[in-house]
Structure formats: structure tokens, C-alpha cells
């Protein structure tokens, strides 16, 4: 039984599931979108979420984003990327704490191109 449990855990580790508790999560830019210009990073949740960390990586490594939303739980989170992002693929990772105390995380990507 122990092997079964470990096998299941390993299987679960390989699966890429949806994020728990954030089914209605939507982002701006939308995941996999191609944009000419990105003025704002937005995360929308179906229940208040305290976004505790957000990082963005681009073609040249980490990109600093300026939080507009503070550390309070929100249903709409906003952060500003630097102006004139160079062309390329970007990934945004975030971490948070949901209202029921579950640690949450999510990631989405977009491309900046003409």
C-alpha cells in the first residue's frame, strides 16, 4: 500500500492540474496571448486572495514589476511592468493565501511582439 501511495504521489507530481480554489482566475494579459504592449498585469479571483509574491521573467531574465495592489486580500490584483518591454516570451508567477488559509500559486505566460 505504501508503494501505491508513493506511486500516486509521484504521478500526481507529474500531472499539471488546475490551481486549487482559483477556477475563475483570469489574467491580463490572458494566458498565451500575444501583445504589442503590456501596460498592466492583472489577476482576478473569484474570492479575496492575498497575493504575497509576484515575479516576472522575460527573455533577459527577471523583470521587476511594481505592485499597485498592496498586501491586503483582493479579488483584483494589479501590478505594473516596466514601460516598453522588449519583444519575447514572458512568464508571471504568483503566490498567495486564500481566504480559507490555503497557500495558492499560479503561473501564466504571454508574448510581446509586433
Amino acid at each position: 500500500m505504501r508503494q501505491t501511495l508513493f506511486a500516486a504521489l509521484a504521478l500526481a507530481a507529474m500531472a499539471t492540474g488546475v490551481w486549487a480554489h482559483s477556477k475563475a482566475e483570469q489574467t491580463t494579459p490572458a494566458n498565451d496571448a500575444t501583445m504589442e504592449k503590456v501596460e498592466v498585469i492583472e489577476l482576478r479571483f473569484d474570492a479575496p486572495m492575498r497575493v504575497t509574491a509576484i515575479t516576472m521573467t522575460g527573455p533577459a531574465g527577471d523583470v521587476a514589476v511594481a505592485r499597485e495592489t498592496g498586501m491586503d486580500p483582493v479579488t483584483e490584483f494589479r501590478a505594473m511592468p516596466p514601460a516598453d518591454l522588449p519583444h519575447g516570451a514572458y512568464t508571471v508567477d504568483w503566490r498567495g493565501l486564500s481566504a480559507d488559509g490555503h497557500p495558492m500559486q499560479g503561473t501564466f505566460g504571454f508574448t510581446v511582439a509586433d
Binding site: 504521489l9 500526481a12 490551481w19 486549487a20 515575479t55 503566490r95 493565501l97
Partner: protein
């Protein structure tokens, strides 16, 4: 498979810490329950039950602290450094886990009073056991609707589980002669009620979380729940074998009955460990189908 959270090393650490925390909490709660249910148990058996409850209660507090660190680390995105970050720890303290920690700590302090061989100490210990149980209703999936029903079901489930888990080691210690058989027989009688309650309230909780039979097979929550139920079934088979075969054999003074019974209780403990792991996975990385 739907409703599975991403699993990284922090999630694995959280599951292990949570399972260990469940074990410690059930043992701490089980001590006063055992003492209350078996006043006739031999002194050395009662002493063992007390000792286990006290040690488990202390370990439970330490695990709670570790869980705070793990959660802070997870939400910080900074790794180990985040586990000690005062701001992140403050967020965890402000979250339902902070509320649970208060209930858990006060409950633990009360369980310590069961160390004293007095009625007042025992009553306080029982209140402490209930408070540790209630602490779990302020976090996680029990916060769904209908809130009060879920909280009551979970508290009953934990008390019934604690009665069983907390009795394992003292009963194993007592399983050496016909005198011990009387104690084990009484446990079997009480357990036939408490285990039925354990399963009934657990199944009701699971039904409220799942909502459909299809969801059992299409979601991560459902599969983890099924895995838990398979191990529970194994545990029930061992328990039934003990109750109807080994305990009567011990009472008859059958040779090697004690050895078989002690080994069998050991297997029960292993099954409990696996059940706690499955439960921790259920509570950490899966979303109940009703929330999908």
C-alpha cells in the same frame, strides 16, 4: 484529472507535516478519551496512555510551528528564507491557521492536566481533546457550506478517530494475558459504536464535499478519497479479525495469541499512518469537487 494543485517540494513537506500533525493531535486527544473510557485499566496501561498523550501533545505544538514556517515559505516564493520572514509569518497568523493554532494550543494545555489522576484533570483533558478537534474546523475544506454541519461532522470524526488511534498502544501493551483480553473486549464493544460513527460522519462529510459518484472517478479529490477508503477497509478487516478471532483466543489463553494480537495492532498502526498521509494529501493538494 481535475482539482489537483501543483506539487513542489514545499507541498510534499506540507503533506508530511500535516500527516504528522494529525497523528500527534489524535494521540493527544486519544489519551484523555482512553482514560475516561477505561477507568478499570491496569495502572501501567493508564500510565502509558498518559505518557503518550503528553509527548504527542508536545510534538503536536512543535509540528504546528513547523507548519507555520512551511506555509510562510510557500506563500513567500522566497524558499527557506520566507519560512522565517516576519511579514509572511504574520499573514499566516492572520489566516485561519492562526485561529486553529490558538484552539490547538489551549486544547494542548488542557490535555496536560489529564496527567493528574483526578476527575477535574480528566474533565479538563477531555475538554482539551475536544478543543484540539474543533481547531481543525477553522481551517481548510471544513470552512465550506453548510459550515456548522461540516464543523460538527469533522469534530465527531476526529474524536472517534482519536479514541481508536489513542487506544492502540495502550491496548497493545495490555495484550499479554487474559486480564488484558477483558480490556480489549470492552474496547471492541465501544469501538463497534464509535467506528460506526467515525465512518458515518466521515462518509457524510465526503458526500458534502464530493456531491456525486462520478466526481469520485474524475477528480483528484475523488481518487485520493478512494485510496483512503481502500486503506480504511483494510484497517477494518484487521480490526474485525482482532475483535472476533484474536481477542477471544487471548481470553481463552490460546498459545501465541498475545504475539499475534500485538503484531496485528502494529499493522493497524501502519494502516492509520497511511490513512493520515492520504488525508493530508486530500486536505493539501486537492480541491473538493463541490468547489470546482
Amino acid at each position: 484529472m481535475e482539482g489537483l494543485a501543483p506539487i513542489d517540494e514545499w507541498a510534499i513537506a506540507a503533506i508530511i507535516a500535516k500527516a504528522a500533525g494529525y497523528g500527534a493531535a489524535l494521540l493527544a486527544m486519544g489519551g484523555p478519551l482512553f482514560l475516561a473510557a477505561f477507568p478499570e485499566a491496569p495502572t501501567d496501561v493508564r500510565r502509558l496512555a498518559r505518557k503518550i498523550a503528553i509527548v504527542a501533545a508536545l510534538i503536536g505544538l512543535a509540528i504546528l510551528a513547523v507548519r507555520f514556517g512551511i506555509r510562510a515559505g510557500r506563500i513567500s516564493g522566497m524558499g527557506l528564507q520566507g519560512a522565517f520572514d516576519p511579514m509572511m509569518l504574520g499573514f499566516v497568523w492572520d489566516s485561519p491557521l492562526g485561529t486553529a493554532a490558538v484552539w490547538h494550543s489551549v486544547g494542548t494545555a488542557l490535555v496536560f492536566t489529564a496527567m493528574f489522576d483526578s476527575i477535574a484533570g480528566l474533565v479538563a483533558g477531555l475538554v482539551g481533546a475536544a478543543m484540539i478537534g474543533v481547531s481543525y474546523t477553522s481551517v481548510g475544506h471544513a470552512l465550506g457550506d453548510p459550515r456548522w454541519l461540516l464543523a460538527s461532522l469533522l469534530t465527531l470524526h476526529l474524536l472517534a478517530a482519536a479514541f481508536w488511534v489513542g487506544a492502540l498502544a495502550p491496548l497493545r501493551h495490555a495484550a499479554k494475558d487474559a486480564g488484558g483480553a477483558a480490556l480489549l473486549h470492552r474496547f471492541g464493544q465501544i469501538a463497534s459504536v464509535t467506528v460506526a460513527l467515525l465512518i458515518l460522519v466521515g462518509a457524510t462529510f465526503a458526500w458534502l464535499m464530493t456531491g456525486s459518484l462520478v466526481a469520485l472517478f474524475t477528480t483528484a479529490y475523488g481518487w485520493t478519497l478512494l485510496m483512503k477508503l481502500i486503506i480504511v477497509t483494510g484497517l477494518m478487516i484487521i480490526a474485525a479479525f482482532n475483535k472476533w478471532r484474536l481477542v477471544p483466543a487471548l481470553a481463552r489463553g490460546a498459545p501465541s495469541a498475545a504475539i499475534h494480537l500485538r503484531r496485528s495492532i502494529y499493522f493497524e498502526a501502519i494502516a492509520v499512518l497511511l490513512i493520515l498521509m492520504a488525508t493530508a494529501a486530500l486536505a493539501s493538494i486537492t480541491t473538493p469537487p463541490v468547489n470546482l
